[in-house]
Symmetry: C2
Subunit: 350 residues, 2 copies
């Protein structure tokens, strides 16, 4: 199906029939040289190298499952719990289905041409991490959906669209984390969120607000802080928090890295362990269990997110879910609050 | 160059000239149908789809840097410090040079056809992790070298070959670790190694033996234990060690995961912290710093291994190292012993 769509486009631009396009690209002659050139130029203008089309006609498949990942210079991306777990889940399933993984890093400054990866037949299906709520990205995803390219967003969703999405229930996870702090008796809960361009950030914000409102507490802007998921941004936020620690009794951070950065930053300003505000992180990465005191956190089934998303797009590709038609699937996996010492109310000193 | 080699192979098998192969694949007619079929069959038999060849003739490059990785079902491969760091280094460089990463998992039971990835033009260059000292693997690497496919082994070397290799000095790292234990006064040092099929295992073994021999101590087989780098294998080895703890005063494990598994396993058998044998791990992963007590370990610059190997093969590919001819490069990066509490001699109790 994808194949026909593309051949039609080339045929229309070249002003020839689809059969002629096929003959040119398969080398089944004779074809007038002028016609041949026109087809090749049309293919080229559309970003289809004739060989990619020939390949499509002959084999149809690259055997590659694309994975679009954010790219941050100098960041050890594969070492981040979030990405390494998702990739492990994707890799496990891809391997079992006989696919190789094509890892494509996002362009930090511009739109990433995922559509082009399909068009060039570098990939047969695609999993997209770090999709942003931005006009250009949304438009591209819509075009890809119209063309029937099999793709799935991971840990992200777009309101009002019907893309394939495998997400986790971050609104609920955030709500549980804040409710736990409220139950411990805390009332001035700082919230350190990630960039707003990600749906999981707005989901967490919603969960934070819901928990406060249920407790009859206002959402105060002076309690809201912005990080970018890096430990360094946690260190930076720690300076802001240290300056108003008299008005803050606890902290909820949108990931463990920032939580650990905040703890380190507060320690660096001379705050003693017994004065350290209660803190809950998010992701439940390995470090949460291993730091001292243990970091309370929200466990997200990242491995499963990757595994399920890979399984679904590959099944779509293989046509094994034909009976469901092309109905998009939108999974939202449950998360779980894991309570450790970092968030517990300290017993008053004798 | 790679292109010509391949076209020649097809031409020879089909019994035609290279020009004819090109004409068939480029669709530059007229060609007798019988000849055309013979060329296509030859291409097919050699594993060259005509489209891959056509693609080669038109573009020459896939734009993909291959990364061959071991695959263990259920293991969270990307979450392992070793792989995530190497991949981060590779990814950083690949991204900067404009390449996508094609991750190919090894077949756990059979040989992985890396040669075929080049032949099918799925990749332009390749980095190989987890290469094994086995006949089939060595033969394939030799063939790939003869054909001029740009590849580089990471953290592995083959004695007697001149493959491109970026390795770390594991013999020295192991030697330093054992010497440190000797300096602490330990004499019965158990050594828990990884599978012998990896060169880094034999390197570590050599370092262990050298340190003992210099200290005038024999290498005793009852001190040698075998794991497979997993935490689970550490737990298993712990049972063996627990059974002869009267004859062992310290442990050197070939990676941190096994070291942590050993500690956990020994604790599970009821050994108290003050009776825990001194232990040194290897890799200096995040957990080494975060466990309590801190785990002494040997820091390996995995990120740099990946980054340097990627830079070198991509430069080879771009021809920017032409002046060096095709001389293989063999780097061996230094490693560093990091001493923490786990390996220090405990002060005698009052």
């Amino acid at each position: 199906m994808m194949n026909i769509v593309r051949r039609i486009e080339v045929a229309e631009l070249a002003g020839v029939s689809e059969a002629t396009v096929s003959r040119v690209l398969n080398g089944v002659g004779p074809i007038k040289e002028e016609t041949r050139q026109r087809v090749l130029e049309a293919a080229d203008r559309l970003g289809y190298t004739p060989n990619a089309m020939a390949r499509s006609l002959a084999r149809r498949r690259s055997g590659n499952l694309g994975v679009v990942m954010p790219y941050l210079p100098k960041a050890r991306l594969f070492s981040a719990h979030y990405f390494s777990e998702i990739l492990s889940g994707i890799g496990s399933r891809a391997r079992e289905e006989g696919y190789d993984l094509l890892i494509v890093f996002r362009d930090p400054d511009g739109a990433t041409d995922v559509e082009g990866l399909f068009r060039m037949q570098k990939i047969d299906a695609c999993l997209i991490l770090g999709a942003k709520e931005e006009e250009g990205e949304r438009d591209m995803l819509r075009r890809m959906q119209e063309k029937g390219y099999p793709f799935c967003l991971i840990n992200q969703h777009f309101a009002g669209e019907s893309f394939n999405e495998v997400d986790a229930d971050h609104a609920e996870g955030s709500y549980e984390a804040v409710r736990h702090l409220l139950e411990q008796g805390f009332r001035r809960i700082a919230f350190v969120n990630g960039p707003e361009v990600y749906s999981n950030s707005s989901d967490r914000k919603a969960g934070y607000e819901r928990a406060l409102q249920e407790a009859g507490l206002p959402v105060e802007t002076e309690l809201l802080f912005a990080g970018n998921f890096s430990r360094t941004s946690g260190l930076r936020v720690a300076e802001e928090i240290a300056a108003c620690l008299d008005r803050i009794d606890s902290i909820f951070a949108a990931n463990d890295r920032m939580a650990i950065g905040i703890q380190q930053g507060l320690r660096q300003t001379g705050i003693m362990p017994e004065q350290m505000p209660a803190i809950v992180g998010y992701d439940d990465s390995d470090v949460a269990e291993m730091t001292s005191p243990g970091l309370s956190s929200v466990r997200v089934p990242f491995y499963e997110l990757g595994e399920i998303a890979a399984a679904r797009v590959l099944h779509l590709l293989e046509g094994t879910e034909k009976d469901e038609g092309n109905k998009p699937f939108q999974a939202k996996l449950p998360v779980e609050l894991v309570i450790r010492a970092s968030s517990l109310k300290k017993a008053p000193r004798d």
